[in-house]
């Protein structure tokens, strides 16, 4: 158990995280390797716990009414062996006026044949604020399938910020399905970033329903694919109330034999609602490339800098 714990921390470190965070006494944390809970720390004002299941864990989070958690909570899920399956069910309730930030890392450093399935249901009551940053670290073989499915209800005046990044190691197969709906003056900001190569497959579906008056939404995606990788990003926003407004922003860069597809879906069902969108799919803008080359950078260096900047 101790060996697994150290191995998870090492994978956490390789993913770009600082394992010291799991020593912070004021931060809640949870570490789950496959279906074993290796570390947990609750703190005053929040309930964060998990129950082991056959293939993973059921995780529950509850932030009590009015509690503004001062320090981020840290989650680390993953599978260390080359083969395995992890199913995580995540249920979160952020009560009225409460606030929490979670930094989650999912690590699969040795993945050859791994499946990681996450089903999340999140409820943000009125005035609540929830920020969830999820960073994935996969091995170099591409032998992993990741399928996060998330549904979020955003109450009146509540705010959701969700950021997903998969930039280190091979993607393998990624299939994100993220759905959120916002009530009056609710705010949703969903972003996904991924960098695929080899034969990686990236499928991202993010949808937001702005059914409340004055609800606002931003759906942003940044994907770069090269070699024979492929990506498809479906970004959907529906605004059906007065004053609801949203924006879809999708950029996909394609290199080599890779393929990319962007599908913005926009529905405006109220005369006082508004949704805008921008999408750019294709090779790197030539002028950007030449600007950097005019500083002395070779073409490969210039494209790497542009892609890194885009994926930040």
């Amino acid at each position: 158990m101790k060996k697994d714990y150290q191995a998870m921390l090492e994978a956490y470190r390789k993913s770009g995280g600082k394992p010291d965070v799991f020593k912070y006494p004021k931060s809640a944390h949870l570490i789950i390797s496959q279906n074993k809970i290796l570390g947990r720390q609750p703190i005053e004002g929040i309930f964060l716990d998990a129950k082991e299941t056959d293939n993973g864990a059921d995780v529950r989070l509850r932030v009590k009414k009015g509690v503004r958690v001062a320090y981020p909570a840290y989650l680390c899920f993953g599978v260390l062996p080359k083969k395995g399956r992890q199913e995580i069910k995540f249920n979160a309730l952020v009560e009225k006026g409460a606030e929490i930030t979670i930094f989650a890392r999912c690590v699969f450093p040795n993945a050859v044949n791994i499946q990681h399935i996450m089903e999340a249901e999140i409820v943000l009551e009125d005035g609540a604020s929830f920020r969830y940053d999820e960073i994935h670290y996969h091995g170099l073989t591409g032998g992993i399938e990741v399928a996060p499915r998330t549904k979020v209800k955003i109450g009146k005046g509540a705010r959701l910020i969700a950021d997903f990044s998969l930039l280190k190691g091979r993607v393998g197969k990624l299939n994100i399905d993220y759905q959120a709906e916002a009530d009056d003056n609710g705010i949703l900001e969903i972003a996904a970033k991924a960098h695929g190569y080899g034969e990686d497959e990236i499928r991202i579906k993010e949808s937001g329903k702005l059914f409340g008056e004055g609800a606002r939404g931003l759906i942003k995606s940044r994907v770069a694919v090269r070699e024979k990788a492929s990506s498809e990003v479906v970004s959907e926003l529906e605004a059906s109330a007065p004053g609801a407004q949203g924006h879809i922003d999708c950029v996909e860069i394609v290199q080599g034999e890779a393929k990319a597809k962007a599908v913005p879906l926009i529905s405006v069902l109220n005369g006082r609602a508004r949704i805008t969108h921008e999408a750019a799919v294709g090779k790197i803008n030539r002028k950007k490339m030449e600007t950097l080359m005019a500083r002395g950078l070779k073409e490969e260096e210039a494209s790497e800098i542009i892609i890194k900047g885009m994926l930040r």
């Binding site: 950097l292 005019a294 500083r295 002395g296 950078l297 073409e299 210039a302 800098i305 890194k308 900047g309």
Partner: protein, 234 residues
């Protein structure tokens, strides 16, 4: 420093530049003047080696070496660089990173100095991204700061005065002098006669032809008095 010899550039079926010849001496501020659409920017792109701007005829000779077939980055390594009329945006890249890109030795103090030269406060701008959060004027200044920090041998400035109000024009011109003071030869491209006043010698381009070349006062006078519609050449 730079010699353009019988340069002809065609794009598609259209001839953009017709047998242009002129030479730029080391250390001077040389002007390329002409009305909009004359071919000035095309000439700048040809000197820099942009894709699609390879001369159909003629030679570009830099420090005694023909560079027609050299790629952009190789010309930049030799010391040539270009400040665009409209600079690109770079999502996620900070001003500090952007300015540092062309520097042989990265040095924060020099980055800060280059920002001050274009009248931008380093404390405010270093960490900002070179994206749509910056105005066009701010991006233009940052572009010039990047050129300054690079210490080029030849700086081609494509209309650094465009979109700049009359009060800022003097500052831009002062900046051009400072680049030259650091050892660069400057080619200043402009369609404004007042901006051309700091130039020592100049070439006037009209509809892709070299109309006049030589002392800047004579060229500017010709431009102001006669070049409302430059003569057509068969």
């Amino acid at each position: 420093m730079l010699e353009i010899r019988n340069l002809t550039l065609k794009r598609g079926s259209k001839t953009i530049l017709h047998k242009i010849s002129f030479a730029v001496k080391a250390g001077e501020i040389y002007g390329i003047l002409g009305p909009n659409g004359a071919g000035k920017s095309s000439l700048a792109y040809t000197i820099m080696g942009r894709g699609g701007y390879k001369p159909n005829e003629g030679k570009i000779i830099f420090k005694g070496k023909e560079i027609n077939n050299l790629p952009i980055w190789r010309r930049a390594e030799m010391g040539i660089t270009l400040a665009w009329q409209e600079s690109a945006r770079f999502e996620g890249i900070t001003v500090k990173e952007y300015i540092s890109l062309g520097m042989k030795e990265k040095n924060q103090k020099e980055v800060e100095e280059s920002l001050r030269k274009v009248f931008l406060d380093p404390d405010e701008y270093l960490k900002r991204k070179v994206d749509k959060s910056l105005s066009g004027g701010e991006r233009k200044r940052i572009e010039l700061a990047a050129i300054f920090a690079m210490k080029p041998r030849l700086a081609v400035l494509d209309e650094p005065d465009s979109g700049i109000d009359i009060l800022a024009l003097d500052r831009i011109m002062e900046f051009v002098r400072e680049i030259r003071a650091r050892g660069a030869t400057v080619i200043l491209i402009t369609h404004r006669a007042d901006a051309a006043k700091i130039v020592e010698r100049a070439a006037l381009i009209g509809e892709g032809h070299l109309v006049k070349e030589g002392d800047s006062r004579e060229v500017v006078k010709y431009f102001e008095t006669k070049c409302l519609r430059c003569p057509r050449f068969k």
